[in-house]
């Protein structure tokens, strides 16, 4: 291994325990504020992982969206709600062991698959093809922007409409309904006064 690979391995060895510790902390802290902050640790370490894997756009997007918006929102919500008293997890019934068994089987399966794929991809043919793609000299952000407006224009615009509808839909259950009653009364008055000469059978 040359120096650059050694540094790469070292950085990965720093980031991955961070993710592991953060995720264990998220599920096992009793104080919910602690678990929200360790979720922030997980997101930050994932973003550093993306940096180490040379995906700068995704790393920046992860920092902005996940750490900067979603985690802040989660911490905000946790701070507003009451602190619940810790629940005792002394009883470990049959469900605990079933879930433990299923998760460990899943984990072993994933580890086996990763080993097989690693053997497959570290054969010399694939490495030379991969290096030929010359990924390190392209500008990721420029490429993504170009593709978004050319090839993926329809999903891009549709995602912006989706954002609009999601905003409207999120505000709709949450807003005050006093305006609704006034509007309905106004409409009742306007309908009663103005629809008697109109033709009753037509919709328009």
């Amino acid at each position: 291994m040359n120096l650059s690979e050694l540094i790469h391995e070292f950085i990965l060895a720093l980031i991955e325990p961070g993710i592991l510790v953060g995720s264990i902390g998220t599920v096992s802290f009793i104080n919910t504020a602690n678990s929200a902050f360790s979720l922030g640790l997980v997101f930050t370490c994932i973003s550093l992982l993306y940096f180490a894997l040379n995906a700068d756009f995704i790393a920046a997007a992860q920092l902005l969206v996940y750490v900067g918006a979603i985690n802040v929102l989660i911490v905000f919500a946790v701070m507003i709600t009451d602190q619940s008293v810790s629940s005792d997890s002394e009883k470990r019934g049959i469900g605990y062991f079933t879930a433990l068994g299923a998760c460990s089987i899943l984990f072993l399966t994933i580890v086996c698959i990763f080993h097989k794929i690693n053997d497959f991809y570290s054969s010399s043919i694939h490495q030379s093809e991969y290096l030929k793609l010359n990924l390190f000299e392209q500008n990721d952000v420029q490429n993504i922007g170009y593709q978004l407006l050319n090839k993926f224009l329809v999903p891009f615009e549709l995602a912006s409409l989706l954002l609009l509808v999601a905003l409207v839909g999120a505000i709709n259950p949450a807003r005050d309904e006093d305006e609704g009653k006034d509007i309905a009364e106004n409409q009742k008055k306007s309908f009663v006064s103005s629809t008697s000469p109109r033709d009753k059978s037509s919709f328009f």
Partner: protein
Amino acid sequence: MNDINSFLSRLNSTINFSTILPEIILIVGLITIVITDLVNKGKNAIFLYKIFLISTLVSMGILFYQLISVIAFEDLYTNNIFNNLFRFFILICSFISVLLSVDYVLCSKISLAEFPLFKISAGLGGMILSCATNLITIYVSLEFLALSSCFLSGYTKRDIRSNEASMKFLLMSGASSSSLLYGFSLLYGFSDGQVQLDNIIDKISFSQYLPIICISAAFILAGTAFKLSLFPFHQWTPDVYEGSPTRVVAFFSVTSKVAALSLFTRLFRLIFPYLSNEWHIVVELLAISSMILGNLIAVTQRSFKRMLAYSSISQIGYVMIGILAADLENGYASMLTYTFIYIFMNLGTFARITPFSLRTGTNNIRDYAGLYMKDPVLTFSLVLCLLSLGGIPPLSGFFGKHYLFWHGWKAGLYISVTVALVTSVISIYYYLKIIKLMLTKTTNLVDTLKTYEKQKSLVSSVISTKLKSSVEMAMILCALASTLSGLFMDPIIKITRNTFF
């Protein structure tokens, strides 16, 4: 300025805007609704529905014109007849359901502008889903449809059943679309980064990666079967249908099923042709179980909406036979014809339930007893639609089922067709139970029907007569379509024949 010019010219060469013109008109309608409501500050709400209707009609007109002159277009869409027919179906669904939903929100005194907004956005998502050939477009439009349907089902926020329904719908659709995305990611990875469905088939070497393709097919099946409410993924359907407002159930019971059908067919036909035997067996099993389960549980239901939910589960089981039986000469004709007839039957049934539940405030089947004496028009149109759902000749449901089962038998799906025939007979039982209840004269009427008045509504009577006409229009349209479509079966089949790809 130079950059903008070159960008626009490049844009015009890559994307032919006339192919997505129906969707663009719907988007313009959506934005107009938002701006109109903002400017009018909540008054004059009927105008919003008129905008919706006009945009839907104009969209349908342009789609008709495109159906006649098929424009070939690559990259994001392919405009073959299959996709255009599905877009047309979704536009029909939107059109009829907006006729149903005008009086509801006025009567229940909640804000009005978001209802047509969500309906247009759900129709838009369904239309783009019907002709997307790109993994990313499929996912974004599927999420668009699911999110809009979820907002629609939680629209009456004061009612606790609506809250429960939208919560269940949101959680389960999130789980299923994550499974779908996992299947897509496997396909994306193993085809060297291709997102277009055609390019994926070219680049994946099926012999080498067969286990991975099978896993990906299983996940995609799980994701799409949720939207279709096939057997193990059907648990959300009765609860969501019972809790949501009835107009909303009418809308998304047809729209999301039609869009999910087109997605299912396209994915499994294009990506997994080499796995045909495997996924045929699995889908056959799912279809048989949905038919059996849907019909058997529907017998025991006491609420009309829940019964219709279980019957729609079984109807999708029948349609699955049509997907499995597609062959070269007939294409997907049986599935498309049955879907077309199913839209009218289902919407017609909901169009009858809606004014009944508005007038009496109940959904129990027992409360329909003796309806014949109070409101014969409603009774007879409901009888027609229920018989059509059951498959009694000479109504169009019979012709649709007959063609479907004959096609299935010809394709060799003997077990499925036998089970479908048996469960059709079971379904006739519970439809006839309701009809018998409605048509028999009982000496002591149920309490709810004693106060049943034809002109009664929650707002002033002027509104009720004016708006009753739109629901009546929808009722008559659906009744006619579900009765007479059987006579026009041959031209319909001829149009839908050329759809194998």
